[in-house]
Symmetry: C2
Subunit: 251 residues, 2 copies
């Protein structure tokens, strides 16, 4: 920074983090196309030392956002895809334009759900649910690993359909004959255990977004409980809020 924010000099690691956060956002926004400006250029733009810029770039490299090589320079390794938090759309619908979404169905069939799942889906004790596990690809790389429990009436029909090429949300709306009603979402950051990492083709310990989502039909009946592990290096969740006098509305 041209003007140090406090009289005391801040540690370089603090300044590097500050630079990295702004660069990260610029990369997501497509500001650099494919090649990042030189260290020298970035140092001028951020009014930072070259060492600070180098540390900032090292942070982004560790996150898998950029590649760096001597003489070749700094390149965007991959742009993340944006996933809206503010509408109940499936992945395929959300990522229209980003590339082909394909689902590898790793498991699909009836299970006796644990009581905690049965309660959330409002099933009678011992009633079967349908469990579906999918590894979801965007292009050639895995994007997410989705574990889904479905109410039996809808789930039994869903597993007869083409799960490889369709979102479960789309199939639910087709089968129930109406739009989805509401959903509760919980999002966490976790590190990938060895097996999840191997499945998602990321390094052991890589950051994942874990989304848990309970979705209800228009009549308020819960039908779909999902646990979704998204590759942290490939997905950004986005939403917008507008204050509308009394409440908040998503745009």
């Amino acid at each position: 920074m041209a003007v140090e924010p406090t009289p005391i000099r801040r540690p370089r690691a603090d300044r590097a983090r500050q630079v990295a956060d702004v660069l990260r956002q610029q990369i997501h926004a497509g500001a650099f196309d494919r090649t990042l400006p030189s260290e020298q250029h970035l140092a001028a733009e951020f009014a930072a030392s070259r060492n600070t810029v180098r540390d900032a770039l090292a942070l982004l490299k560790d996150e898998g956002l950029i590649d760096r090589a001597p003489k070749v320079g700094t390149h965007v390794a991959q742009r993340k895809v944006d996933h809206g938090l503010d509408a109940l759309t499936g992945l395929k619908e959300t990522l229209k334009g980003y590339g082909e979404v394909r689902n590898e169905v790793r498991s699909a069939g009836p299970v006796t759900p644990p009581p905690a799942v049965a309660r959330r889906l409002e099933l009678a004790p011992g009633e079967e649910a349908i469990f579906v596990e999918r590894l979801r690809y965007l292009g050639d790389l895995p994007l997410s690993l989705d574990l889904t429990y479905l109410a039996p009436d809808i789930g039994n029909e869903i597993i007869t359909r083409d799960l490889e090429h369709n979102d479960i949300f789309t199939l639910i709306e087709e089968i129930s004959g109406g739009p989805l009603g509401s959903a509760d979402l919980a999002m966490e950051a976790i590190t990938a255990d060895a097996h999840s990492a191997a499945t998602l083709l990321v390094p052991d310990g890589a950051a994942l977004l874990l989304l848990e989502r309970l979705t209800r039909l228009d009549d308020n009946r819960p039908v779909d409980l999902e646990y979704i592990r998204m590759r942290g290096d490939r997905v950004t969740m986005r939403s917008s809020l507008i204050r509308d006098t009394t409440s908040w509305e998503l745009t």
Copy 2:
């Protein structure tokens, strides 16, 4: 599972992940108070082998959610706090009832923001912004590290106030004399670099939720751009969506 979801037997790691996801949700919901049921009890509940349950508990231990010790059993290490995604409330307001929020102000003062930040805050080239860096505690432990760029008129006033005990959102509303208007949010999962980890008191490489948020006043002027690193083991972001004929509304 009592009924295997597919004719082929699934690898134990897949079944352990499935059990861990449901247990994680139960821990968040406070289902166990402090002590988890025995492996034997959980094996019966999940219709899983004890080895599968043991692997599931190992996953949750690695995430820092539970402690395990021979003879002592399995305990909830810490319950996560819920942070609403669906309203523009500051941390202190959000966490009322969870404990005391205290902010350690690590930096506060004017900076010449990088062009990418100036553009988002709609500042003239070269115009100063106010930068504030806070390490935010809930009780004795850090919860998040927040880097904030403020429009100068509001920011200059904010840094004269008690930043240790107030949310910036509250101060903005006090100073601007009106409610906040809207915000754009982007959420990612990243691993903690060594320095961020040391600051947040988590192991190197721990999972963090990174929230980037641009907040506008009622008249649509952007005044507050934040980069917030939240400890993945302490925070769950939650929201609810309701379909309201034509649009989605947060509850």
